[in-house]
Amino acid sequence: MGEFQLHDVRFFRYMPKAIHSIAHETTNRVAVSRSDGSIEIYSINDNWYQEKIICGDAGRSVEAMVWVGQRLFSAGLHGDIIEYGMTKLIPKYAVDSYGGAVWCMAVNNTQSSIAVGSEDGCVRLFEVTEEELSYSRAFKKQEERILSLSWHESGEVLVTGSCDNIRVWDVATGLPTLRIKVERLVRTRETIVWCVAILRDFTIVSGDSLGKTRFWNGKHGTLIQSHHCHKADVLSMCVSKDETLVWTAGVDPKVIRFERVAGKDEGSRATWVRHNVANRHTHDVRALVMTGEYVVSGGVDMTLVAMPVGKLGKPSRNILPFPQRRLVHVAQTARRLLFQYQTRLELWQLGNTTAVSGMPDERLPITQQPVSLLDLKTKNMKQIVCSAVSGCGTWVAYGDVQHVRLFHLPKEEGVKVLQRVRCLPIDLQPAHHMTFTHDASGLVIATNQGAVQFLRVDAVHPILVHTFLPPKSVVHPTTISALTVSSDSQWIAAAHLDCSVHVYNIKARKHQCSLPKHPSPVSAMTFHPTEPWLMVVHASQQFFEYDVSESRYTDWSRNVQRQGLHREWLKRSEVVTQVAYHPANPTQILLQDQRMFCVIDKDKKLPKPGSQFYSRERLMRLDPAVREETRHAFAVCRGYRALLHLSFLEDGAELVAVERPIKAVTDKLPPTLSQKRFGT
């Protein structure tokens, strides 16, 4: 690794949002909804890669989500049930719930109908048809709102939880067959059953506002067991596939695992036993989902926690609440930073120093403070999907779910007028990704239909030069997950979620080639500054360097693949979010994820299988002879809490690191449930 001046930027005050619900899909994807109505879709198999983000809307809340096959439905307090288009990442259509705010939603085992519990106390069934959702019928109305519901495996019985009551319904007649009254602790204060589940053997599990997890006999309505493990409301619950494990969590942010323990003989009754308690959250846990391999939990503290189910003691995984896509863009020559918040953009001029570094790790005095140049709010508080800034820092573009907007910031001294470029071509489609070419002459947009558009940037009259469509063989192009343009503005590469990467030639306006398919989606890619080489990093931590002009992997990449990547590199949990070549010395490649960054030096030898990835501090402490011996191509810098962005400035001697320590985020949260701890 060479020597860099590092700008440690901490003034990006991005606030993630609380998690409201989680839904698990059969292909091992997880949809996570946040309090601003946005939905994130993670692929667990691809190393928790954040595949898609469906932007929310101010008028939309997501309280419950349901996957029917690959189709995602959500419902919320606004009273609509929405299905989303999974390519365009926008709502397809909405169906009224006919009962006001929706609190809970569940699909039956055959995935043919969705039951919706709503404010008016009615359970309504919706049939899932090929095209859309159609209202089927309503159950008998009850007084209290329905807060939780669960289908029995047979699809004939439904159990709902509401204030003071648990009801078991016959689906065929729509009438309740059993009503279980839950006791109140204080006579005037109702007990709310926040979550309920019915098992195959008609055992009903309920979690209520008293903090009790209870196991009922669903046929007779008798209480089997009651565990008072939580200090406050039990908000969420999930059951394992074989129905021997139940997890509960709530305001008291412990995730408690209950296990069904068979008696020591065949005949004796099985009991539910509290197993271990996981203390991974600091605030209310709103959602808890079992995905087979993991128990995924999320809540007010925004972090998604995946706890492995199998053997105890395996480390759980925290998925940071920041999007894995770019939120920060750097104007390399102008030394400006563009920060993308949910509904606004900020443009900053980087600070500067005149001091010359003497020692490594020395903190240099700032002679020129960073300046905020621009604070741009979107119209009607629309959420921003993507944004970009040109290298000279004069062009800023962003896209929301409907439009692309382009702004010009003339460079003349003293003039600080932002000009919106109004006459954008009518054919410009809503963008998922966008980037300026290196000379700021063009804007490359990845559209929500899987195409790539090239826009010639002009302050007065921008022209849509060409729309690059994926080759004809691809019938339904999938969402583009990454987009990059070469520095000589000749090549555009677009990576799709179906793991394909297409390279387009701008000058020839044609599809140049497609990279060989790798089973894992591309999480980051970049072009070599001088050569027509494309560096592609996949979510599975594999990376390739591909010569797009000759349609072959480069020799170095072949060499790396032949030797195989080091185990220590592959076992990292985070997905690489950015990759960049050193502008001055392109043998060095910078890879960054949310917790570390790594500089790969192509000239150095690759690490031997048994060798260690020492940190820089560790290396410095080693004996010089040993140090040289242990040095290899991978230079790793760990220890970041949440590294959102890392890139070179123009000359390559300076690095910009944008950090958002998770502590700074959680400090802004409301106080947690006060719990007595020993010694306080």
Partner: protein, 851 residues
Amino acid sequence: MAAASDEEMAIVQKAGANLVSERPVFSPDSRYVLCCCGYVVKVFSMSSGECVRELTGHKDFITGVKINPHNQFQAFTSSLDKTIKVWDYPDGKLLKTFSVGYPVHALYLLKEEEDAGYAVIRGKDNVFNLVKFSWTNRKGHTIKVETKEILRRVSRHEKHLAFGPEGSFIASVTRNKLTVLFTKSGKMKEFERPKNEFQCVTCHPTDACIATGMQDGKIFLWRGLFQKREVVRTIYHWHTLPVGDLTFSPEGTYLMSVGQECVLVLWQYNTEKKDFLPRMGSPLCYISSSPDGSLLAVSQVENVVQIVTRSNKVVQVFQGLTRVHIPQLIRSTNPVPTGLQIDPRSHTLVLNGRPGHLQWYNLHTDRHLYNLDIVWQNFVSSRRPWEAPEVIYTEIERTAFDQKGDWLATLERRADGMMAEEIKLKLWSFNKEKQSFELNTTVDCPHQGKVNALVFQPHSGANLPPTAVSAGDDGKFKTWTLIDDTDIYRENVCWTCDSVGTYRDLAAKDATFSEDGSLLAVAFGQSLTIWDPYTLDLKTTFCHTFCAEKDSIRQARFGLGSSCHYLITTTSSNLSVWNILSCSLLWTVSFECAVLVADPLSEYMAVFSSTSDLTVFKPSSPEPVYAHNKVVQSSVVAAIFFPKQDQQAEEQTDEAPWQKRSELYFMTYDQDLLTLQKDTPQQTRKDLTEMEVLESNLPPTPFSMYLSQVRPGRQEDDSPALVQHGTPGSVAIQQMLQTPAHVLPPVSTLCQSFLQMLLISKSSAERQDDEDMESESDEEEKNDQSETSDSEMEEDDHASTVKQSTSQSEKDNSSHDQTSNQSDSGKIHLKETDDLSSVKSSDLSWMKSIF
């Protein structure tokens, strides 16, 4: 005298044994509690709190007692003497002895196996193994049993092993590992906790559930042992200190845990509810539940067993000699810094007890009397080992009683190494109304630094104010006297410092008064200075010039009685005797002396070396009267000559001359209070309870009630014919001959009863009943012999029949006394013969009234 020293005397533990070395055990009807107590098992009555039986017979420490699950009147005991014995504990009879061949460290009996048990033995290679022993179809009193190894390498503590319901599995914990052996399949499962240590284990009575207590205070519940999947481990964490012991209630609804927090925690099984019984007084080490679950026995490390009901009420306390348990004292060389003292008023032993308390202990009745709180500070349980700093307790370092027991001086000190030392001298006066000591004067910081001696001046009848002397490391000795502190509001007296003496700036290591209080000897370095206590004139100085340079005097004592003109000093290498009259060194021997004590009633003195060798000597001669090498393995930290209770009986007993008036008690480092005794069968308190009739343990069924009505008649008919041994009245003759002639009453007074005795043996019809009664009244006589007052005996909780007979015989006694005009003193043996005869001569009408 030399002959006496040849006879080896046995070291016995007469009183103050450790009740809490093992788990206490309830009898099936919860009327008795059995506690292992050194070499014996004590059976305590739940209703009275008295020790009603002692099961004696083992020759080494008893390691466990268990009730036979198939016969509720039998108890099994295991011992390090390689045997397991079966007792009829209500009667205190030894039934069987199983010879195991190895020291037995723990014993387990299962309900499912009628003639087999489990024991933890120390095998050949010093490995503790769990073995099964069986006594099927083996007849005889002493049986050699075969052992079959079940589990190797277990822990020797009883609480480290537990049996599952119906013996389906065995759970054993060693340091970091829990091993579960399934008895049916023979399979084993092991669970390791590398960073934690297992402290105790217990099994649920019906569920397949193991509870283990951990060192970091967690309780693990292991369930799902029989399933293929991973075992379910639930953590319950309340304790901060290591969990001491765990037990389930018999029905399995509660789990009880104890620890050093002095809190009994009751966990409701399978729910998160818990209940506490706080402020138990001292750290808890064992807990056991009665078979019906209504009572809990909680052992405290300070040698107390408390019986607690399920409504968290303490209903009974069995208290032994309180053991010092605070870590700072246990770690020091002397856990009992005050030494052993006698309260002159009550003739009881006074020593350190609970933290900051003094305890009064009656050695003769083996009864703890009371604790006196000296420092008035709450007991704070210790911190976790890794949490510095450690809790430092204020401890009483010196105590002294004045001659009559009216005043008590205590000296407490707290030194945590950070702050200045807190030293307080407190003087307590005895309040006759309240029958306890009351604080009179507190002196803050009487000396700078450690106080080495605190003594009262003995006054021989002179009408002088009481005076005490303290000597400390600051080189001063101070005399404290009582002065009048009366003002217009109240009449009062208080103590004040009268004078201060120093000698060459040397640290004062010891101070002592001569027997009459006329001389005060203070040890300064190598010099022993003699002062006039009234004027504080330095009379003379004895210098230990023959000793090495740094060899300063440790202890100084005046001789007593006929050798009161001798002054004995000890240094770390020498024992020297000085004659005060001639002001010369009488003799000196090279002896590494640790403890030096004088008999207040004779001139003998005893000295313990640092290697626990005992030497008894007279100050007048360097020749030892008695020597006993290596009395105990550990060191002796304190000793006392304790006056015998019955000074009159001294002539009769066959004791060494130096033990005639007082018994030498000494305390070891392990806080065992031991004494020396000739190898005669133990002949004191222990036998007298032997024949007490224990209440029947049978539940009152209608049949048994009917039986109890019928039984008296049957007894009269069927009681086994007693055979008359020897000549009639031989007992009386023997005793008459043993009694020294000069204390015998005139022959004329003896004649009538003696003759009557002979006559009665010939009447045949009522003979058998008489014999019956005789044996009982025999016991009563022995009672009389040992108990000083009749009133005390009345308090004893005897069975109703015995009581009746007692009162009756007393009545007879008194009537007899009137006729025979005996003098009161020294007639006990005569009285016995009288009792015998009177019982026999009396009609049986009173017996009929009982039945």
